[in-house]
Amino acid sequence: MAAKRIDRRQFVRISGAAAAAAGTGLDAILSARRAPAYAQGSKLHLTRWVDFVPAGDEVLAKQMVEAGKALGAEITLERINANDLQPRITAAVSSGSGPDIFHLLHNWPYLYEKSLVDVTDVADPIGKAQGGFYQPVIEATKVGRAFRAVPHAIVGGQIAYRKSLFAEVGFKEFPKTWQEYRDAGKKLKAKGYPIGQTAGHTFGDAPGFWYPYMWSWGGKEVEKDGKTVAINSKETVESIKFATGFWKDACDEGGLAWDDASNNRAFLAGTICATLNGASIYIEALRNPDKYKTDKGEQMKSDILHAANPAGPKGQFHYHASFHHGIMSYSKNQKLAKEFLKWLHAKEHFEPWFLAQKGFSVGATKIWEEHPMWKEDPVMLPYRTAARAFQLFGFAGPPSAKASEAYSKYIVVDMYAKAIQGMSAEDAAKWAEGELKRIYG
């Protein structure tokens, strides 16, 4: 095969253009009539969860093509089960190869800090342009002074409930306290419509329910110093005692083995009256109004409302799952990856995805609270401002890798699950204390 020869004149012309590009930036690149190096057939691989709102993934799939054209790159979107994201990240980091960008949840940036690129230069301008990030999202992604991931969205956790069923047992408004919620649930369980809540090993709904539940009673994992384990307290023990009664009186006891999709299925099948969830149940009922019906034959979508968590003795608390995009330090396309995230998170490109989400995911920045979409469906309104107030795992300490470790090992969830299975409240709190001391110690 004959090699293509480059004569002296061609060499001088090409190398001159390259030198000019390196020296004078975009003007030079344009004058050289050559795109930047990363845009010349580069490939980018993004791995995200399988969205509970399929329309969101459809928009993203189209946007990969658009972004690819804009950036001159081939961008691949891979979607995997959310419970498999962490194993995949570990495997990729350990082998030093894999997707350039990972979808990160919660405060995982702390767990993978050393394997994530500093993306402050991407995140800061996005925050400034869009009314600023919500404070908990900043805390979840900014490790030290650097953003280790670009905040993308927040899946708000609200209780989806059947308004007709609650009205039947005398609750025209959703219960304000855990005691009221238990009373309503007890009556509804007797009618065959228990509250459905998971206490299993699953990434979203289980910690999303049990952490804020514990906080509302005054329980906490650690003190403010982030080191002193404080879970074995009078408040936590009280919360466990109440939880076991709540479970027995009001809940579907199968919830111990539920994953994040189980409550969606149960609700849409009409076997439960309420569950803490993102808005995916309602959105699915909207998508298929004639598929999901109540016992009376009415469309399920018309019987669904959303409400905030009931309050405990110390107030009302929430945990909302925040989602981010992190660029892996082993990636050979870091510059392109940053350009891509700037493109994807820009207002004009985020908006179509935000609209497809219909409120299931809200923006990580405050500007999206003002979007006209919120005027379309009052049922979704509780999600509009949900992200304003929530706190992260590891409360009352700062978010940390230790807090992520405790979350990944389901210590708080299992503390309640053990008590539900018969362990005394005191022993369950003591067990959790021992496990947390091993982590924080």
Binding site: H201, D252, G255, R265
Partner: protein, 328 residues
């Protein structure tokens, strides 16, 4: 080149005999160098050369990962952090970990009950299949289905059957009037462990059945006929003739099964993820949760390696017993 040079020398002024000897030596050297020929004549060297591909493969794919695993377990490595040597700190930590203790208990119960279940049902099935009946080949082939279907796929089917809300098993039992309330297949801690054991037995039984069937077919029918003439009933014939003769095969099959069951992962991972409240965690699933999900590679490697000495002792006892049985 090596062949040409001697010829050019031989064409010189030397004697004819000398030239001839040089010419005859030269072609040999072209095929094989003298040192290589001598080396291959040596049985030790030849043996080493023949073994070397296997040794290299074993070193690369078994020894290296094992040694690497041991090394990681002695460090505080986490995801993205190679870590530093911390001695046996990880082992001390996991041995004081209540979840690890529960996983240890679960693993032994899981292995013991599943192995006994698979052996008993596998033997029963093998005895049935050893008889002559219509469509015997079809039945034998279909019996292998649980073994052929990918474990994760079949486990997902079981997950649906055990589903807390929509369990087809509960539905059937309820409509047959056998139960009044739902059975918590995966919600009650004891039932959850039993459920994963049931699935393991279902999946592993064909392996036992086929292996034992092969053993049964080596038993001479004349022995049974002679025993029957002497008045031995079915149980006596099994216990006095069949069982002693298939015992060596049974022991080998059990050995393989124990190793596989003790280190089982995918079935439990797909069915329960170790829950509820860690009541179905085994060594492998807990090691995965700690090392791969949580990213504590050193601690996860320590959990994983903790099963090694226990499994080693079990295997040694079994091998010793197999030798005894075979020697008897």
């Amino acid at each position: 080149m090596a062949a040409r040079e001697p010829r050019s020398i031989a064409g010189g002024a030397g004697g004819a005999a000398e030239a001839a000897s040089r010419v005859t030596v030269a072609p040999r050297a072209a095929v094989r160098s003298p040192w290589l020929g001598q080396a291959l004549e040596n049985e030790r060297i030849l043996g080493f050369l023949l073994l070397s591909p296997t040794v290299v493969l074993l070193a690369l794919f078994i020894a290296y990962p094992f040694v690497k695993g041991v090394w990681i377990s002695l460090t505080n490595a986490t995801v993205g952090n190679p870590g530093q040597f911390v001695g046996i700190q990880n082992f001390e930590k996991v041995f004081h970990d209540s979840i690890f203790q529960q996983a240890t208990y679960n693993t032994f119960v899981y292995t013991a009950l599943a192995t006994v279940g698979k052996l008993a049902l596998g033997m029963w099935l093998a005895l049935l299949l050893n008889r002559h009946f219509r469509a015997k080949r079809l039945v034998r082939a279909s019996m292998l289905l649980p073994f052929i279907i990918p474990t994760v796929l079949s486990t997902l089917a079981w997950k649906w059957m055990f589903d807390p809300t929509f369990s087809v098993l509960n539905w059937s039992l309820y409509h047959l009037g056998l139960i009044e309330t739902r059975i918590g297949w995966l919600t009650d801690p004891t039932m959850a462990l039993m459920s994963v054991i049931i699935v393991n037995i279902w999946r592993g039984m064909p392996f036992y059945a086929i292996s034992l069937l092969a053993g049964l077919q080596t038993v001479s029918p004349e022995l049974h006929e002679a025993a029957a003439i002497d008045g031995a009933n079915g149980w006596q014939r099994f216990w006095r003739i069949t069982w002693p003769l298939v015992l060596p095969v049974t022991m080998v099959v059990t050995l393989f099964s124990v190793i596989q069951t003790f280190a089982d992962f995918q079935l439990v991972y797909a069915l329960t993820g170790g829950g509820p409240a860690n009541s179905t965690h085994l060594f492998a699933t807990y090691a995965y949760q700690v090392g791969i999900v949580t990213g504590l590679l050193g601690e996860g490697a320590a959990v994983s390696l903790a099963m090694f000495p226990m499994l080693f002792v079990i295997v040694i006892i079994q091998l010793w017993y197999i030798r005894r049985v075979e020697g008897a």
